[in-house]
Amino acid sequence: MAGPVLSLKGLGKRFGASPVFSGVDLDVASGDRIAIIGASGSGKSTLLRCINFLERPDEGRVILGGEPVGEARQRGGGTEMRYDERALNRLRQRVGMVFQQFNLFPHMTVIANVMEGLVTVKRIARDEARPKALAELARVGLADKAEAYPAHLSGGQKQRVAIARALAMEPEILLFDEPTSALDPALVGEVLNTIQSLAEDGRTMLLVTHEIGFAYHMATRVIFLAEGGIYEQGTPDEVLKAPRRPLTQAFIAGHRRFNF
């Protein structure tokens, strides 16, 4: 059996003197869908951003496809990690990310947004990249918007384009950072449906979300972050239906309160 696609070993991040989280260990197997939940400020997004090094972790290691990222060097009694910029650029090609605020490139058409990584990073010829980008747009149901600019799309459509942009790079793992938190309630469904269809394709993904109901149906595993680390984890039924520890119980109860 193949090893994990992604492993985090003792990962930690501080902002200044205050730690966000520390000692996070996580193994992600191919096809895993991991929902990361927790209160605001629990470090969910920061953890996700440490995986593709939009934030540099301060301790621990990220291991992608069995290869540790960065080099450990002995320095003054401790080990210090050194990360090569080009190695990080290569890593980011393999780890797709979808942002809360979509972050589409506003000066480019929808198709150009999806083609950008193929052309600029993977150096694929335009006439070859275009049909591939169109196929990704078709997958998220937006092939007819190829020539539109992002400003003319709804929030839900923007997020689906952002998903297509990430998919075009054929990443091994997809990271979703609160992908529906910036959307009108009426537009949440179309984005969740898109993510659901990716889940059905067997894609490996980590999803930071406040949509507990969606996490329950979509995830193979749920991680609850609190007190600077993984506080509780398990299957959706375990963590969301029958949480064992007090902070998880309070968090889930708080979310259940207005459900009927």
């Binding site: 650029n89 797709g96 990310m97 942002f99 589409l104 990584g117 400003a151």
Partner: protein, 221 residues
Amino acid sequence: MAYRWDFAPILDNWQALAAGIAGTLRLFLVCLVLGLGFGLLVALMRIARQRPLRWLAIGFIEFFRNTPVLVQILWFYFALPMLVSVEISPFMAAILGISLNSAAYSAEINRGGIQSIEPGQWEAARSIGMSGFQTLRRIVLPQALRRVLPALTNRGIEIFKMTTLASVVAYVELLHQGKLVASLNFNPLEVYTVVGALFFLILYPLVRATYALERRLARSD
């Protein structure tokens, strides 16, 4: 007694004024390209990660923003050749003074534009594996330059008008030629009126062209 306007001496000297227009345009084009181009370079140095580059850029910007262009032109023309044995033509002195001053101003404009681009744009580009330089070239600069185009247009207008300062070192441009014609024919009223009008007639269509450019770039809004 009412003044009798007489434009005949100006028409007789049209060749002198035409030479002046040619000199003005030549100086303008060189200073526009050098000033705005160098301004972008200085802006990138100003936000570079390397501290010495930043200091160099800040020193350059503050020095050239806080001294008058007229003084700079005179300094390059009269003082620099005394320090180093180089021959400085009036054209060269004017280029140095106007371009470097414009570079200092447009560097700050460009820096503001670059820094106004949301961090999410950098992150999105980096997240698909683009390098810092690719992100700058493909994602950040195209958006930043569009935002600062009105301010850069202003710089361009200023550069055009600053070319008249080159007359102090006897560079052949429109104002210099106008002075010459006026002093030969004792008709400053007509000459300076015509000189002013000529500046407007050249500059206004150029400014209109930048509006068209702005509209073209606004297609994606």
